[in-house]
Symmetry: C2
């Protein structure tokens, strides 16, 4: 039985998320007819391997998208704003990982396990959510359907790879310098991140009442994906000296009673989620265990006696995979019906 | 004007907190008539310097406390349970940093800026709270008096020095190993902490519904110190790869409206607290800035629209100083009236 073959382009191919996307397309045997890699002029001319063949990286600025059916896009949002309309005009579906179009009412914002139906109403662009949003809604959505969410308070522990390769280089470079009694050089992130914790992910904006854009995204994107525009969410986003894997401490108040046992059962059956919750055996989600995997790990599930029907949970997820590249590839699988598994959840 | 001079003993003198206590006694010119250092048999015979003189470390197991007026005690709680009654019987006031007596109704649990009056009713032992509790109540107490706290949800980001010298050695050792492509050896903490985040501080107990003893302490100690036995607090305690400085993400719901501006003003006037809150200039509390200082840094103060009269804030504090040794020394200053400043706050 032959599956449909697609002409694919990866934009931002040389970045952290772009490389992950390429690996994940290979891992999942995405049915690729032709593959093109695009990046900034700086990276053009490099070669990257795909399916055992070397593919030259093209200059995005001068690229012609004719013939491309699906673009997996992972550059910065200003780059996406620039090229995406051209790719759409050339007939491609752009699955964009940047924040450029996420809150555009005409652009679906999709996590396939949560709102697959939204993907169908795209007009050429589908956005993939932020890397801290995806694991949160994967855990919250099945619980909302069962118990009704009243309010969420979330604090994150985010890896430096969320800031791209330069974030990774910065943590490793600073750590090596400090261990060798040299000063830590601060370039990519607002402060030293090695052996430190920085409550500042992305940027502060005048109109966001002291919240970072990362915190605003976590709130607004969660609402849009779950179709709950009034959902009450409070977010604090924090960078920690971890290479890969975002963790989140999540306090949820529900409309209806939700026992830890029942919640564990609901989450065990939820797609994209793996319950890791045996504190007596020191088993709970950690970024180190989430890294490299596809699932959002959820644990430390326990009743919170400080409010009615409240619960605490803790999750960890690979921010470069499900938090980014994997979700984008899954959206492509969903739209073109080429996924390894048929999605049966949502709506 | 000569101040009263006191005979002091430091128990657990060779540990992280013990050494900090010795430094802080020197820094604050605590009026010491005589100084003794005590530790386990393993450390006995070492010498430590105090006030320019070398003092031999005595074996705690065989120590005679006669003549000692105040003991600053920072060993494990089983050691405190063993020696403290003997020291009290010999006439000393024991200021104990361990968790041994904290929840004993006969033992005051004191943060001098919050509940100085409680110190007066001691019967030979005063407990100093846990290192994650102290900064939290320093920030919450002035706000409670002004606005009335309804509920608190806190997630911590705790440094490895909270686990003592072995925690510090573990993080540094693992980091060096990993940078040199060697495996990270796990000994003192439940999992690799270098480049990881572990939602497990202290231990899980059968009777605590999935919470760690650290989380239970944070809740129960905050209630006892502030004299609010019914206070609704939900805690998640997490170890991060930081050497010194505990941070906390705190969501508070108040009885009465509390604007960020007014809260900033209240906290600016609060003893032991320094407001660091200029996000536009990338200024907010970080463990790296809190380390070595006496104050709890509080910032990221912002309205939380997800609940009535709610607010988010973020704090960082040196867990080995105000979180431990400094608070104990301040209790001694308070009880013996030998502090550099007269406390005027509380009750």
């Amino acid at each position: 039985m032959s599956r449909r073959q697609l002409n694919v382009a990866v934009v931002g191919a040389t970045g952290v998320v772009g490389r992950q996307a390429i690996e994940i397309l290979e891992e999942r045997k995405f049915p690729v007819a032709g593959m093109r890699f695009l990046a900034s002029g700086r990276s053009a001319g490099q070669t990257l391997s795909f399916g055992g063949e070397l593919v030259a990286v093209e200059n995005l600025a001068t690229a012609d998208f004719r013939g491309v059916e699906v673009v997996l896009s992972a550059p910065g949002s200003s780059v996406s704003r620039e090229f995406a309309p051209k790719a759409v005009a050339a007939g491609a579906l752009v699955i964009d990982k940047s924040s450029a179009f996420r809150m555009d009412p005409d652009v679906p914002l999709v996590v396939p396990e949560v709102n697959p139906h939204d993907a169908a109403r795209h007009k050429g662009i589908i956005s993939s959510p932020n890397c801290s949003t995806i694991p949160l809604v994967l855990a919250l959505w099945p619980l909302h359907r069962q118990y009704g969410i009243r309010r969420v308070v979330v604090s994150t522990y985010q890896a430096v790879s969320g800031a791209g390769r330069k974030g990774v280089d910065e943590l490793l470079g600073q750590t090596a310098a400090l261990l060798n009694q040299r000063p830590a050089e601060v370039k990519a992130l607002p402060h030293q991140i090695a052996f430190n914790v920085v409550p500042h992910v992305e940027v502060f904006r005048d109109d966001t009442e002291g919240y970072t854009t990362e915190e605003v995204k976590l709130v607004e994107e969660s609402r849009k994906i779950m179709g709950l525009p009034e959902l009450r969410v409070s977010a604090t986003c924090v960078r920690v000296p971890v290479l890969t894997g975002h963790s989140e401490s999540v306090n949820v108040e529900f409309e209806r009673p939700a026992s830890p046992e029942a919640v564990r059962e609901v989450l065990s059956a939820a797609p994209g989620v793996r319950v890791v919750d045996d504190p007596a055996a020191a088993e709970y989600p950690m970024p180190l265990d989430a890294a490299g995997g596809d699932e959002v790990l959820v644990g430390r599930i326990r009743a919170d006696r400080s409010a009615g029907n409240a619960l605490n949970l803790w999750l960890a997820s690979d921010n470069t995979r499900k938090g980014a590249a994997l979700n984008a590839v899954q959206i492509a699988e969903l739209v073109f019906g080429v996924g390894p598994v048929q999605l049966s959840v949502g709506g």
